[in-house]
Symmetry: C2
Subunit: 209 residues, 2 copies
């Protein structure tokens, strides 16, 4: 055998597909053969949609969320409350918070979390732009909600941002808050880990609120 | 929220990706966001390779294996033994048999197995073309190896083909054989199911062969 697949076109498609996260060469071959069995129209639509998406999507100048325009739809929406900024790790988290329909402010997408083990320092993230956005003279931002994962990286990043905001606006500046930690809705106390249960006691709220 | 993803381009890519087998909308979104983070060159290469593959690959006129030309590389290779035809379910099985490097004949790809439950009858498969290929006057085919999965569908299909070949060439025709069934190489008797173990006794071979 000279070539694994007897076809350079198949070989190339399998190689490109296997670059996707979680897709090995076996899965890539399965996907390629599936696409070969489908309408040419369907396979072309998939290929073209990937190309169009990568070419057409850029990042919002203000919040760094994905956008097809200079300003993303959230930042451009005059009905949103520009005084509250929700800081998230990535674009997916924007979608998660939007799905709750409980947040009406704007976002700031960091593009990751501080993680020395992975070589990600604060400079690789959109932290300076956040501090500038929330403490510059004339800013309308009154509250910054740190909606980061309650992991070591998330906590480290939140603390770093908190310190930066405080340092940049010693005389006041925006209120900095974080997500409540506690028992999951619908979850049972018995199966809640003790750290979370402990935090849910620390974060307890008056019953009538 | 008017749109789930705030971007039609992302929405389209996620929809197209989620048509792939085993890819739900969550995975499709993960893949799309991954591609957004990569070089435009890499995402474009993936999209283009899918389009090129689907446009450029057709099926071999003789064996129905995938091919970029009228005749696939195996059928076109004069060094292969044209007197032996290995019948397989699909293109993947051609690759599996080729990897053994133990087969030097040609292939015939059925494009599936007979499965009444899935509405796949013999007419949907390349069975008539196989029978024609192996029994027409002037054929060089001397042996047909039925390399189908030892499942109900595989056995049904094999038996159907066997009958068809016999009916088309009552006075002789090619020898019809099937793969041996037995203990997997490196497998332990203790963990071999009793049906397979039974077949390995039926299919036993002289020790010195």
């Amino acid at each position: 055998m000279e070539r694994e697949f007897q076809s350079t076109l198949l070989e190339t498609a399998v190689t490109e597909l296997s670059r996707l996260p979680g897709v090995g060469r076996k899965t890539a071959l399965r996907l390629a053969l599936y696409l070969l069995r489908r309408d040419e129209r369907e396979a072309t639509a998939l290929g073209q949609s990937i190309i169009d998406m990568r070419r057409g999507i850029r990042y919002c100048r203000v919040c760094h969320n994905i956008s097809e325009t200079d300003l993303c739809p959230v930042c451009a929406d005059p009905a949103r409350d520009a005084s509250t900024v929700c800081v998230v790790e990535n674009v997916k988290d924007v979608l998660s918070v939007e799905r709750t329909t409980r947040f009406h402010g704007l976002y700031h997408v960091l593009g990751g979390l501080i993680s020395p083990i992975d070589g990600i320092g604060p400079d690789a993230l959109e932290i300076d732009s956040l501090v500038e956005r929330c403490t510059a003279s004339g800013t309308v931002v009154r509250e910054v909600i740190l909606a980061l994962s309650p992991t070591m990286e998330g906590d480290t990043t939140a603390y770093y941002i908190y310190r930066k905001l405080r340092a940049a606006a010693p005389a006041g500046g925006p209120v900095v808050s974080r997500l409540a930690r506690g028992v999951a809705v619908g979850g049972e106390l018995e199966y809640t880990d003790e750290l979370t249960l402990g935090r849910s006691i620390d974060d307890r709220r008056p019953f009538d609120q």
